[in-house]
Amino acid sequence: MSLIKELDYGTPIRLSEDEVTLTIDGVGVSVPAGTSVMAAAMSMGTKIPKLCATDMLEPFGSCRMCLVEIEGRRGTPASCTTPAENGMIVRTQSDKLARLRKGVMELYISDHPLDCLTCSANGDCELQDMAGVVGLRDVRYGKEVANHFETDSPLALPVDTSNPYFQYDPAKCIVCNRCVRACEEVQGTFALTIEGRGFDSRVSAAGVSFLDSDCVSCGACVQACPTATLMEKTVVEHGQPEHSTVTTCAYCGVGCSFKAEMQGDKVVRMVPYKGGQANEGHSCVKGRFAWGYATHKDRITKPMIRETITDPWREVSWEEAINRAASEFKRIQNDYGREAVGAITS
């Protein structure tokens, strides 16, 4: 068993009767009209670097990692916000693009703590992945520059642990807006915003703690976060899961699909499954986070019987409990008739 990694096309899947055909890195590809250049590339297996794009959200175009060159177009458009067009000739790699991506990454890392080894997202961090992809080796802006992560920095903010299930660490925020957009587009609650402007920009639950905010703890922001900024407390505590299984939530009648992400037989987190047709990758506070009851200390795991309801319960074997139930039901039917027993299911 391994961890199920779902493909991320970067921008939402578009459905259209019309197809457009374009060339990406010399290879022809046809996609439904309205598909972004990024998703078109992904459909043929080419992963254009990205940070602010994810296919649960409309394209935003802020990270500038996904720039490409398009023949006949000025400059280097972002592939997430550029729709594929017939006859388009796209290059996803060039010296210029490599320089730009590395330069942008250098800017990101100049305001990011270098604590990857002890970071809760270690091994599951898109920023880390992208730094690797662009081959960043050196951050030339030096120390003693404005930042959000050194504890004595005037811009540093404390970790918000108010929500019982996840935490918000502003030091690791790359201001991709994915959480804000997830709260708006996926959940529709509009609890999050970006506070401040320019370099000061940072995610905020509208100025109060997450617990005191309008947040409904659906987890969409945590799922959208590409770094350790918004992270499940269970992952902070236990580390990354190593395998997962797709299953269905046991709460309401929506029947959301989840990946139960596990370490051995221990659930580390439940992550909504994009392939789930009922929920298409979304969740609510119950299915996403409120599964701890399954191993709660109140669980009764041994069969028990008693003569009267005022007696204390007595733990017995399965066999004894089932035999008791069966013999009692048979006795009752014998004494009071066939209709004197029944069953109620959930």
Binding site: V267, A278, N279, K286, A290, W318, I332, Y336
Partner: protein, 597 residues
């Protein structure tokens, strides 16, 4: 159901759907011919007018609510019919065009008045009705509904809904493009629950809003597998696939496969079982994953029934309220320990997969087999997939369902058979399952639960986002941060009259009982109506609710109880006694091994 029908040899099996969506099954099968919602969830993305009746999606079905809100932000219009100002009425970038804040218990009156507007203002989709519906029934219905006594103006004194607003809402539903109805327990849990379901079905047929993307009549079902449970014949009168026990050919098919003679008499419903128990004729009950002592109405009546039984067997993961009155406890498995399927509100069958071994050492399905064997009716399955195969053999609408197919497609929406090999996202596309759509007469009959001098307020109940039903699960998580007790929402006007402020302990009294809980003064409410949740056993909200129920299905009338509210400084007698019994009736004898430690 197999355990009961073959093992017990009777049809005394019922499900929690009795207390939630049994009227859905009844109402939709009478009109359309099938007992389930008509659409898939995705359909809402094509809807132009969403009409929510007696449901609170942002709290009860939050993931689907997000889909709705997405569509509403993209321009669809919204009509909310609910006594409370639920979040959908006004939330960021979503606002209802019409909120018909009706008096609890007048759903039928409101829907009839809407139908009246549609009939009398010529908004009927005539070609749809002519092609798809039984015209004789239609004519009869239309004539009756057009009578002046059904007009919004005539109904206004009962419903409290301004006639003009209702007229505009009706016009919007009829002419605003693809219109879809989504409803919840605020429809079903009434004495006229089934009538309301049929009234909605009538509206949809009259306006041609059925059988394609973006329309339909859709219950937002309460539990993961409540649809599945109903599908599988967990009702006393039906085999799987909603076939009546008196239907000889069906019964004979089951009899030959199960190798047992089966009863052709409809079995007992939950309330009948309890009544019979109190009367002395019903003595043994097997309760699987259900907590009727908390969730079912008139708690004191239920517990009296349970106390009168000689053997109550509980299968659950916790020692729940009902287990206080039980004699045998069989430890259940959480969803993480189960293999099987859940069928959701859109008839979608999805796999539940075991991610950890059952803590009890035995799967629930295995325990059921063992019990059946012990009862003298041997069952032998080696995996839940074999159970699904048997279901497919016995149930035409499931004929094409198998674990393999679910694995392949991710999930399957029934009906799934030769005619629809990959399932059916939208029903009644070319014809209704029953052939022609049948308009049903839906006369408004006020509930017998009446307010008066003693009980001047109406109590209605519901749930909130962070907690789930009886709270057995969510109360044992950190979700309690958001909701650690049930509170009584009350309008400022009613609160002021009683000197009640937010945070005050108040006594809530109905003719069946009394409880105390904290008040929250809220303008969500309309004057005269109070509201609470039933997530916390210690509150005992169902001590208050009555045994009135839907005329057709006995679904309890949770949503309308005449009550009085007053300030108090103590918990009620029931709550005090219940707190004592919580300890007395839950004692577990120390194990010898642990006792020695």
């Amino acid at each position: 159901m197999k355990l009961v029908r073959a093992g017990f040899g009777n049809n005394n099996v019922d499900t929690c759907a009795r207390v939630c969506h049994s009227p859905t099954g009844y109402g939709l099968s009478k009109t359309f011919g099938t007992s389930a919602g008509t659409q898939d969830f995705k359909s809402v993305a094509k809807t132009d007018v969403i009409m929510i009746i007696g449901a609170n999606p942002t709290d009860g079905h939050p993931v689907f609510a997000s889909r709705m809100k997405k569509r509403l932000r993209a321009g669809a219009k919204l009509i909310v019919i609910d006594p409370r100002r639920i979040d959908m009425v006004k939330s960021p970038h979503v606002a209802a065009s019409h909120h018909l804040a009706l008096r609890p218990g007048t759903n039928v009156a409101v829907l009839n008045a809407m139908a009246h507007v549609i009939v009398t203002e010529g908004l009927i989709d005539e070609s749809f009705v002519r092609e798809r519906c039984d015209l004789v029934d239609f004519e009869m219905w239309a004539r009756a509904i057009a009578e002046e006594r059904n007009s919004p103006e005539a109904m206004e004194p009962y419903t409290g809904v301004a006639a003009q607003d209702l007229r505009e809402a009706a016009r919007l539903y009829a002419t605003g493009g693809a219109a879809a109805i989504y409803y919840g327990l605020g429809v079903t849990e009434h004495s006229q629950g089934s009538t309301t379901v049929m009234a909605m079905a009538n509206l949809a047929m009259a306006t041609g809003n059925i059988g394609r993307d973006g329309v339909g009549v859709n219950p937002l079902r309460g539990q993961n597998n409540v649809q599945g449970s109903c599908d599988m014949g967990s009702f006393p009168h039906e085999f799987s696939g909603y076939r009546h026990v008196s239907d000889d050919s069906t019964r004979q098919m089951f009899e030959s496969l199960w190798n047992r003679p089966l009863s052709n008499e409809q079995g007992l419903r939950i309330p009948n079982m309890i009544d019979e128990a109190i009367g002395g004729g019903f003595k043994g009950l097997y309760v699987q994953g259900e907590d009727i002592a908390q969730s079912d109405p008139d708690t004191q009546h239920i517990t009296a029934g349970l106390r009168a039984m000689e053997c109550v067997v509980i299968q659950d993961i916790f020692l729940n309220e009902t287990a206080k009155y039980a004699h045998v406890f069989l430890p259940g498995s959480s969803f993480l320990e189960k293999d099987g399927t859940f069928t959701n509100a859109e008839r979608r069958i999805s796999r539940v997969r075991k991610v950890m071994e059952p803590l009890s050492g035995k799967s629930e399905w295995q325990a059921t087999i063992d019990l059946s064997n012990a009862l003298g009716y041997p069952m032998s399955y080696s995996h839940p997939s074999e159970i699904m195969d048997e279901i497919a053999r016995l149930t035409p609408t499931f004929a094409g369902v198998s674990y393999e197919k679910i694995e392949q497609l991710g999930s399957v929406q029934w009906p799934c058979n030769d005619k629809a090999p990959t399932g059916t996202p939208i029903m009644h596309v070319d014809r209704f399952v029953r052939g022609l759509g049948k308009f049903m007469m839906t006369e408004y009959v006020p509930t017998e639960e009446k307010t008066g001098a003693r009980f001047p307020l109406i109590l209605t109940t519901g749930r909130i986002l962070s907690q789930y039903n009886v709270g057995a699960q969510t109360r044992r998580t950190e979700n309690s941060v958001w909701h650690d007790e049930d509170v009584l929402e009350i309008h400022p006007f009613d609160a002021e009259n009683r000197g009640v402020k937010t945070g005050d302990l108040v006594a809530l009294q109905s003719r069946t009982g009394e409880i105390s809980l904290r008040a929250e003064v809220s303008e969500r409410m309309q004057p005269g109506v109070v509201y609470t949740t039933f997530h916390h056993a210690k509150t005992g909200a169902n001590v208050i609710t009555t045994d009135f129920s839907d005329w057709a299905t006995n679904c309890p009338e949770y949503k309308v109880t005449a009550v009085q509210v007053r300030r108090t400084n103590q918990y009620s007698d029931w709550q005090e006694r219940n707190a004592r019994e919580d300890i007395e009736l839950r004692r577990i004898a120390p194990r010898f091994a642990t006792a020695a430690e």
